[in-house]
């Protein structure tokens, strides 16, 4: 057996007639097509509601638990470790450090991208180390990107912001 043959998938010979896409289009096989309609409007609540409202103002809001001394971003109104109410709101800088990133040459629905999209987790300055959020990096030289690089948010102009995580367009390397 040569190498080519050994790599070929093993397709068993099945008894019957192969179905083709056109058999479905022409109705020669029976099936039901159904496209679900799912609509939700989620209440953001106190914590994420304020986080988004602050985004609109160009600020990063966080909460602080004075028991475990953690500063949480995105904020919550409760500390999940101490299981108690948080003590105060704080505003953080819009700078941070790349915790982890990926250079993605496909979109979420697997379309090829010429310019890659770079999802990254940014640990925000002033938050407990390791705390931050997932966002996008914009860079001309993705090959030079490194974990631990410092980045800063690039905001949409104030009139375009609507209280969304996308009010930050992306983060850019600042050193």
């Amino acid at each position: 057996m040569n190498e080519q043959a050994s790599l070929a998938p093993v397709v068993p010979q099945l008894i019957g007639t192969n179905l083709r896409t056109r058999d479905f289009r022409t109705g020669s096989v029976f099936f039901e097509y159904y496209k679900p309609k799912l609509e939700y409007a989620w209440d953001t609540g106190k914590a994420i509601g304020k986080f988004l409202a602050e985004m609109k103002k160009g600020r990063v809001a966080a909460t602080h638990c004075s028991k475990c001394k953690r500063t949480l971003v995105p904020p919550r109104i409760f500390c999940e470790k101490c299981f108690r109410d948080i003590d105060k709101w704080v505003t953080l800088k819009d700078t941070g450090v790349i915790e982890t990133f990926s250079v993605s040459f496909v979109t979420w629905d697997v379309k090829r991208l010429e310019k890659p999209q770079i999802p990254a987790v940014i640990a925000i300055d002033g938050a407990t180390p390791g705390y931050g959020f997932l966002h996008l990096i914009n860079t001309k030289d993705w090959k030079a990107l490194r974990v631990g690089q410092r980045v800063k948010a690039v905001w949409k102009p104030a009139h375009q912001r609507k209280g969304s995580i996308t009010d930050i367009k992306y983060f850019e390397v600042i050193e």
Binding site: A41, R76, K81, F83
Partner: protein
């Protein structure tokens, strides 16, 4: 098997909308109430069960989103897509088996966040031979109602009495979303979407969250608070084939209660149960369920209701909380709100709606249209 008790309960007031809180924040608040009620440090909790349906939440693999607000990060946790009573049975088994001592059950409803409830309900119908007909899921309940009403000879007055009683009971329940005084005239004047069901006899959705803390016998006794014991539970599904299911009788309820009653050692349900919280998503369901679990003879629940047997001061009070009609339809949390009421009653803390000498309570939940699924739980002041 080890004995299991409920040592803590916490619930938020049911409301048609809850725009200022996220589901996580609602759950956190209910959990805080339950842990305070149980007198425990959340760090002691060992295992967690949540009830949720991805399509109700709008997030798939929803169990990933439940730990933080319960204090269960990095602890055993799983989600069941069923009513709260099934979650309680699950938690009770985790303790009875000796695996854990302290287990938490949580369910919530953010029904107000679902913008197309009719589509979501239709999505539960079989895609090949039911959905293409374009019948609203609600109509399936109407088909059942028509059959039950005809078989049992239920009168309009009796259905109006169920609505009036439950919405009336809700007036003394601070957790209820839909308290109201309802007259026979109101009932007759209510519009009908699918005959014979009127709008007024259909429970309306509400938002809320409920958390229950369970403990093993030794832990429950050491706790100081009055434990309410889990005596029995059962759950069952008749069939998903709506074309061949039983239309007049709630077979699932009979099967679930049979298991639960046997486990609890109940030989005569009419004499050995002090009060019930029974699914009344539609008024006829309360009557149908009462007959299914031997509280009343076939074709007699409506007569007993008219005689006042199921009122808070009656022989066997049913839905003292207000039921789904008065409390609101709480999605997966329905059964937990029933349990919240039974525990409050068995502790003797139900205030104005307190059932006298409440020793043993039964909860019966139905999973709603188009299902023939239900669960039953028996609670008591004594372990058995």
């Amino acid at each position: 098997m080890r004995k299991v008790a409920i040592i803590g309960i916490g619930a938020l007031k049911a409301r048609p909308k809850s725009p200022e809180l996220s589901y996580k924040e609602m759950t956190y608040q209910a959990a805080k109430l339950a842990y305070q009620d149980a007198g425990i440090d959340p760090q002691e909790l060992q295992s967690f069960v949540t009830l949720a349906e991805d399509i109700h939440e709008g997030t798939s693999i929803f169990d990933e989103y439940t730990p933080d607000q319960l204090g269960s990060a990095q602890k055993p946790m799983h989600t069941i897509t069923h009513d709260g009573l099934v979650g309680l049975a699950d938690a009770a088994m985790q303790i009875a088996s000796g695996l854990f001592d302290l287990v938490v059950v949580e369910a919530h409803s953010k029904a107000s966040n679902i913008k197309n409830k009719a589509d979501i309900e239709a999505y539960a119908l079989d895609p090949n031979w039911v959905r293409p007909l374009g019948i609203p899921a609600h109509a399936l309940a109407a088909l059942e109602a028509a059959c039950y009403i005809k078989e049992s000879g239920v009168t309009e007055e009796a259905l109006a009495e169920v609505v009036s009683k439950n919405k009336g009971n809700a007036k003394s329940n601070h957790l209820a979303a839909y308290p109201k005084s309802v007259t026979l005239k109101d009932f007759r004047g209510s519009t009908s979407r699918c005959s014979p069901l009127r709008d007024i006899e259909t429970a309306h959705h509400a938002d809320g969250a409920c958390v229950i803390v369970l403990a093993g016998e030794e832990r429950a006794k050491a706790n100081g608070a009055i434990p309410v014991w889990i005596q029995g539970f059962g759950w069952a599904t008749e069939t998903s084939a709506i074309d061949s299911k039983t239309w007049d009788k709630a077979v699932y309820a009979t099967a679930a209660a049979k298991k639960a009653f046997r486990m609890a050692g109940i030989a005569d349900p009419q004499k050995e149960i002090s009060l019930l919280e029974i699914d009344d998503t539609y008024a006829f369901k309360e009557l149908q369920h009462l007959e299914a679990i031997w509280i009343f003879e076939r074709q007699s629940a409506w007569k007993k209701t008219l005689e006042g047997a199921t009122a808070i001061k009656g022989k066997i009070p049913v839905n003292a909380s207000g039921g789904c009609l008065g409390m609101g339809e709480m999605l997966e949390a329905k059964g937990l709100y029933q349990v919240h009421e039974l525990v409050t009653q068995l502790r003797g803390k139900a205030g104005k709606r307190q059932v006298e000498n409440a020793k043993r309570g039964v909860a019966l939940a139905w999973r709603g249209v188009p299902t023939s699924s239900g669960a039953c739980l028996v609670l008591g002041r004594q372990p058995q």
